[in-house]
Amino acid sequence: MYEPKLVEQNMTKPGVTPAETVLEIENLRTHFFTTGGVVRAVDGVSYTVRNGETLGVVGESGCGKSVTALSILRLIADPPGRIVGGAIRFEGTNLLDLTEREMEAIRGNDISMIFQEPMTSLNPLLTVGRQVAEAIALHRGLSGREALDRAVEMLRRVHMPEPERRVHAYPHQLSGGMRQRVMIAMAVSCDPKVLIADEPTTALDVTIQAQILDLMRELQDRLGTAIILITHDMGVVAENADRVVVMYAGRKVEEASAKELFECPGHPYTKGLLGSLPNLEVAAHTNARRARLNEIKGMVPSLASLPKGCTFASRCNFATAECHAAYPPLVQHRDGHWIACWHAERLLEGAA
C-alpha cells in the first residue's frame, strides 16, 4: 500500500545526532506598506529547521508567525507587503534570489503548506481528487489518469475512508476533519522536505484535532519531513514539537527545545503565556473562586508604531529603565536556549 523506500528513511531527532539543516531563515524582515504607515509584521526573525524534526512556532495573533511562513514560500501579496531584508536558505539556496518560475518548482514540491481553514483553502468547484492530482501532475509530470490514481493513493495514506469514492467528492460533502486530511494529502503528495502547517487544527474539534496531529506525526515518521508547526496553542506545541520558537510583535523572543521551554521558560512573555493558561489538571482540583489566572496586562503594541526598546516592556512585570531604552539582543543562555531579554539570566536562575 505504501512506498517501501519511504519507510526506510530514518528519522533523525535533534540532540541524538546533529541533524542536517534543511531550511534556514536569517534576519527576515517583511513589512507592509499601508496608508497608516509601515507595519513591521516580521522584523528580523531567524530560525532553522532540521531534517525530520518538528519546529513549533508560537505566538498570539499578529505576532508575525504566519507572515514568516508565507514569506518562506514567497506568497506575500505585493503590494502592500514586501520582504525588505534577510535570507531564506533552502538546502543552501537563497529562495529570495530565485525567479518566480524557479520558485514555482519548489512550492508544493520541496516545501508545501497546510492552511488553517480547510474550507476556504480548497476550491469548492473541483473534486478533491482533482485538487490533490493537480500538484502531482504539475511537479511529477504525470498524466491526468496516473495523477488521479496517485491521488487515491495519497488519500489512503492520510486514512481517508473509502478513498476510491471520496476522490470524486466535492469539499462541501466532507466534514472539517476530512477536508483537513485532503489538505494534508495535497501537501505531502510530492514528498516535501519541509511541511509548513499554519494552525492546522485550530478550526477543528479536539477529538478531530487529536486525529490530525496523530496523522502528521505518523507521516513525519514515515517520510522524514521537517515540519514547521505554527500555532497559538501551547498544548499542541508541548505534545508535538521538538524545538520551539516564541514570537512577539514581529520578533523571535525565545527559542529552546520543547522540554527546556516548558520546564524553564526564560522570557517573561513565555512565562506569562504559560501562566495565563488554565491547566486542566489544576483547574479540576482548585476552587475556581480563589484561583485566578495570571494575566498579562495590557495588549500587543501596534506594529505600525512600535515602542523604543523592548516591545514587551510595557506589559512586563520585570521591566526596568534598561528595557525601555533599548531592544535586548538574542543571547544563548543555555545550550540551544536563546532569549531576547535583559533580565533573562536572573529569570532563569529564579526558575531553577
Binding site: 479536539v206 486525529q211 505534545e239 488554565p278 486542566l280 482540583h285 498579562i296
Partner: protein, 335 residues
C-alpha cells in the same frame, strides 16, 4: 428552595423545509431531551464539540429560540409558554454574553449607547442616572471612562468583550449565559476576561451557564460540568469527579484529547476516537456515541441509555454502569 434555573427534558428540533410548498422533510435534533439545574451563585459549564447543541441550549433558556418541548423554570416558575411581554421581567434576570465580540456589537452605536440600551428598553433609569450607571459599569469591567463615546471598531477584541459584559450586567441580572465568551480571544487576553468574570461573580453573586468547547477553560471557571454529545447530556458532576473519574467514554476521550502545555505531555496515554460526530439530522439509534465508542456492545446500538445517578452526585448516560460503577472503563465481558 427551588434552584434559580431548572430545565426539564428540553428539546429543540429545527425543521428542514424542502420543495415548493416548504414541506418539512426532516428535523435537526439540536437539543434532544436535556435536563439540568443551576443554583444561585453557581457556575455550570456546558462542554461539547461543534454541533452538539450546547449553544442552542443557552439560546433556548432565554427563549431567543422557542423550545419544541420540555420545561424551563426560573425561581420555580414555569416560563416555557410565556410570550414577549410576559418574558420581559425574566429577561432582566437572565442575560447573555456572545462569542464573537465583533459581530455582537452594533457598529453604528457608541460603546456607551450599547451598554446603556438595556436600561432604555426596560425603562429603569432616567438619562442622568443612566449616564452614571454606564460610567460605573465601564469602571467595573475595566474600560476607561472616556471610551463611552468611542465606536466598536476602535476597540480591540478583549475590550469589545468587556463592552459585551458591561451590557449584560446593566440590568443587574441573576444569571448570565456565556456562549463561548473567551474562545475568540488570544490566551493572554482570555485570562483577563476569565478573571473578570470570576471577580464579577464573587461581587454580584451571579450564576453562570458557561458554554464552551475548551475543557480546560470550563474546568477552571465551573463548579459543575455537563458534557454534551449530539443533543444530549452524557455526563454531569462536579469538576473534580469529572476529571478524576470520567464515567462516560466520550468524556474520557475528550479529556485525553486536550493537549497539555507541559514538557511531560508527550508521553501520556491517549484515547484517539475514530470517525466524526454523526449528523444531528439523522442521529444513530441507541446511544448516539456507540459508533465511535471503544467499549460499545450490542445493547448500545438499539437502546438509548438514560442519564442516571451512577454514583452519588455523579450522573452518566452509559450502559457500562448498569451493573454497578465500572471504573476504569472496560468493555463488559461476553459482550
Amino acid at each position: 428552595m427551588s434552584p434559580l434555573l431548572e430545565v426539564r427534558d428540553l428539546k429543540k428540533h429545527f425543521p428542514i423545509h424542502k420543495g415548493v410548498f416548504s414541506r418539512v422533510s426532516a428535523h435537526v435534533y439540536a437539543v434532544d431531551g436535556v435536563s439540568f439545574h443551576i443554583d444561585r451563585g453557581e457556575t455550570l459549564g456546558l462542554v461539547g464539540e461543534s454541533g452538539c447543541g450546547k449553544s442552542t441550549v443557552g439560546r433556548t433558556l432565554l427563549k431567543l429560540v422557542e423550545p419544541t418541548a420540555g420545561k424551563i423554570l426560573v425561581n420555580g416558575e414555569d416560563i416555557t409558554g410565556f410570550n414577549g411581554p410576559q418574558m420581559l421581567p425574566y429577561r432582566r434576570q437572565m442575560q447573555m454574553i456572545y462569542q464573537d465580540p465583533y459581530a455582537s456589537l452594533d457598529p453604528r452605536m457608541s460603546a456607551g449607547e450599547i451598554v446603556g440600551e438595556p436600561l432604555i428598553i426596560h425603562r429603569v433609569a432616567a438619562p442622568k442616572e443612566r449616564r452614571e450607571r454606564v460610567a460605573h459599569l465601564f469602571d467595573r469591567v475595566g474600560l476607561r471612562p472616556e471610551l463611552v463615546s468611542a465606536f466598536p471598531h476602535e476597540f480591540s477584541g478583549g475590550q469589545r468583550q468587556r463592552i459585551g459584559i458591561a451590557r449584560a450586567l446593566a440590568l443587574n441580572p441573576e444569571l448570565i449565559v456565556g456562549d463561548e465568551p473567551v474562545s475568540a480571544l488570544d490566551v493572554s487576553i482570555q485570562a483577563q476576561i476569565i478573571n473578570l468574570l470570576m471577580d464579577l461573580q464573587d461581587e454580584l453573586k451571579l450564576s453562570y451557564l458557561f458554554v464552551a468547547h475548551d475543557l480546560a477553560v470550563v474546568e477552571h471557571i465551573s463548579d459543575r460540568v455537563a458534557v454534551m454529545y449530539l443533543g444530549r447530556i452524557v455526563e454531569t458532576t462536579d469538576k473534580t469527579s469529572l476529571f478524576e473519574m470520567p464515567l462516560h467514554p466520550y468524556t474520557e476521550a475528550l479529556l485525553s484529547a486536550v493537549p497539555i502545555p507541559k514538557a511531560s505531555a508527550r508521553t501520556r496515554k491517549r484515547v484517539i476516537l475514530a470517525g466524526d460526530v454523526p449528523s444531528p439530522i439523522n442521529p444513530p439509534p441507541g446511544c448516539h456515541f456507540h459508533a465511535r465508542c471503544p467499549y460499545a456492545f450490542a445493547r448500545c446500538r438499539h437502546e438509548v441509555p438514560a442519564l442516571r445517578e451512577v454514583k452519588p452526585r455523579h450522573w452518566a448516560a452509559c450502559h457500562l454502569h448498569d451493573g454497578g460503577v465500572r471504573f476504569p472503563l472496560t468493555k463488559p465481558a461476553g459482550a
